[in-house]
């Protein structure tokens, strides 16, 4: 028997409107669940992106004592590059270091009074994982000596915490809220099956297959999930854009680079749509499951 799409979808839409207020309330609650999940995930995502930027800029400076020959200096560089958490090592001559310093410094007196012999050759060491930076710094110290290593200030620590907390919280929330929204949609569809119990009984009596009986409810759940996903996505966009604007405008938050929504809307839409469908279809299948046992 072929799948009678137009029949099932008409029945499914009919179900939606047969108790319009319940459908409306269900969509409302599911939108709220999706928004909470989405917001936490986006915070976690932004924290992650920020951390990656910090990671890519974060450097350990390993100074080379003047007594080393060129060959010795190269050997030191190789040993550092072989350390576990090291992503890359960049050699910076004292001349380059001075130029960079001059570029950064606005103080004319200082600029006029520096000379190349105030600088040393150094390696800039970049790491893979900021979590492990202290251990890596210790390993570099073991190679070039305790006093010859300078580590950036620890602004990363706070972000690692934010990232980790946001990650764990959004994971837990996603699980909890998925279950909650499946339950809510399932409940609404159970109501429809109850409204339609006479029709279901007659369908069984005349020999309708379980699949046939199930489809209208699956479409009802699917539509509830899809509607929720669409509304949630639109609201998420609005909220995200206005928060991003607020952060851009705030002087104290200059260092926060919010990923623009325009560059992530596709995956966000796909995830909202996917979550909506899983919730909707999952809800209807759990609702109808018991009904079809008899």
């Amino acid at each position: 028997m072929k799948h009678d799409f137009s029949y099932f979808i008409r029945e499914g839409v009919g179900n939606l409107f047969s108790h319009g207020f319940m459908s409306f309330a269900t969509v409302g609650i599911t939108v709220a669940c999706l928004l909470i999940m989405g917001t936490f995930s986006l915070v976690a995502y932004n924290a992650e992106m920020l951390l990656r930027t910090l990671e890519s800029e974060y450097e350990i400076l390993a100074f080379i004592d003047d007594g080393n020959s060129a060959a010795q200096t190269q050997a030191i560089g190789r040993r550092i590059a072989e350390l576990p958490n090291v992503k890359s090592v960049e050699f910076i001559t004292r001349a380059e270091a001075m130029t960079a310093f001059e570029d950064r410094t606005l103080d004319d007196y200082l600029r006029a009074n520096i000379s190349e012999d105030m600088f040393r050759d150094r390696y800039a060491v970049f790491v893979n994982d900021l979590n492990l930076v202290n251990r890596t710094a210790d390993q570099v110290r073991a190679i070039v000596g305790e006093k010859n290593v300078r580590v950036d200030e620890d602004i990363a620590g706070g972000f690692i915490l934010v990232r980790n907390v946001a990650g764990v919280v959004s994971f837990a929330l996603i699980i909890i809220l998925l279950v909650v929204s499946v339950f809510i949609i399932s409940n609404t569809i159970r109501l429809t099956t109850f409204d339609r119990r006479d029709e279901i009984a007659i369908m069984k009596m005349v020999g309708a297959t379980n699949g046939f009986i199930r489809w209208p409810f699956v479409y009802e759940g699917f539509l509830l999930g899809l509607l929720s996903a669409i509304f949630a996505f639109a609201l998420q966009w609005l909220i995200y854009a206005s928060v991003a604007k607020g952060i851009d405008a705030a002087d104290t938050l200059k260092f926060l680079d919010v990923v623009p929504f325009g560059s992530i809307w596709r995956p966000v839409a796909a995830i909202f749509g996917g979550a909506g469908m899983v919730i909707g279809i999952g809800g209807s299948l759990t609702a109808i499951h018991k009904f079809l046992q008899v």
């Binding site: 028997m1 072929k2 009678d4 029949y7 006479d198 029709e199 009984a201 007659i202 369908m203 069984k204 009596m205 005349v206 020999g207 309708a208 297959t209 379980n210 046939f212």
Partner: protein, 225 residues
């Protein structure tokens, strides 16, 4: 064909509804199934439609072995049987026509088949002028004729009616029985459960009597006390 062989049915609460029932109904027969209240008539019908399963014995309906029928086959069994109940079981918010088309769409009939079949069946039960009525706008006899039309609409080989006239006055009851007789003449096997003795005796048909879960008679008249 319907075949029951030493069928025993005990409900979960311990009631022995059937205590070894054996009967055989050939294709094209018209059979009354009679007996006092609680004798097990409805239990037999529920067994025939696959709604419940017997504890022991053998039972076959229209080529399906009901002692080990699979879940996937049950809908096919039911398509071969049209069932009619005392309380009609029409969908109140659907018109006569919609009640019938609903039953046809439920087994995958195309809209074209539905449009072609329904007028014929309504003509057969004499309701051609009531297609757009709702059940509550019809008399009891008319509602039962809609139920009969619905049982027929998917062209089953067997019609099973459980007290189809239980809610009707005697002249309406006679009409319904005559209609079932006419349907039988068109080639459909008909099994009618009833305990209206006078009605049964107006027809010269096979009568199977049931008492206390066993068959006590199989002849052409109903002489229960």
């Amino acid at each position: 064909m319907i075949r029951l062989n030493n069928i025993v049915k005990e409900y979960e609460n311990g009631t022995h509804a059937l205590r070894g029932v054996t009967m055989k109904i050939e294709d094209g027969e018209f059979v009354f199934l009679v007996g006092p209240s609680g004798s097990g008539k409805s239990t037999i019908i529920k067994l025939l439609t696959g709604e419940i399963v017997a504890n022991s014995g053998r039972i076959a309906v229209n080529g399906f072995n009901l002692m080990n029928i699979s879940d996937r086959q049950v809908p096919l069994l039911r398509r071969s049987i049209g069932v009619i109940f005392q309380d009609f079981r029409l969908i109140e918010k659907k018109t006569v026509y919609e009640n019938l088309s609903f039953a046809m769409r439920a087994v995958g009939a195309s809209p074209r088949l539905v449009r072609g079949r329904i007028p014929y069946v309504l003509e057969l039960v004499g309701l051609s002028d009531k297609t757009q009525q709702f059940p509550h706008e019809l008399s009891g006899g008319e509602q039962q004729r809609v139920a009969i039309a619905r049982a027929l609409v998917n062209n089953p080989s067997t019609i099973i009616a459980d007290e189809p006239t239980g809610n009707l006055d005697p002249s309406r009851s006679l009409e319904i029985m005559r209609l079932l007789g006419r349907i039988n003449e068109l080639g459909t096997t008909v099994v009618v459960v009833t305990h209206e003795r006078d009605l049964v005796n107006r027809f010269q048909k096979r009568v199977i009597s049931l008492e206390n879960g066993v068959v006590t008679g199989d002849g052409v008249s109903y002489d229960a006390k």
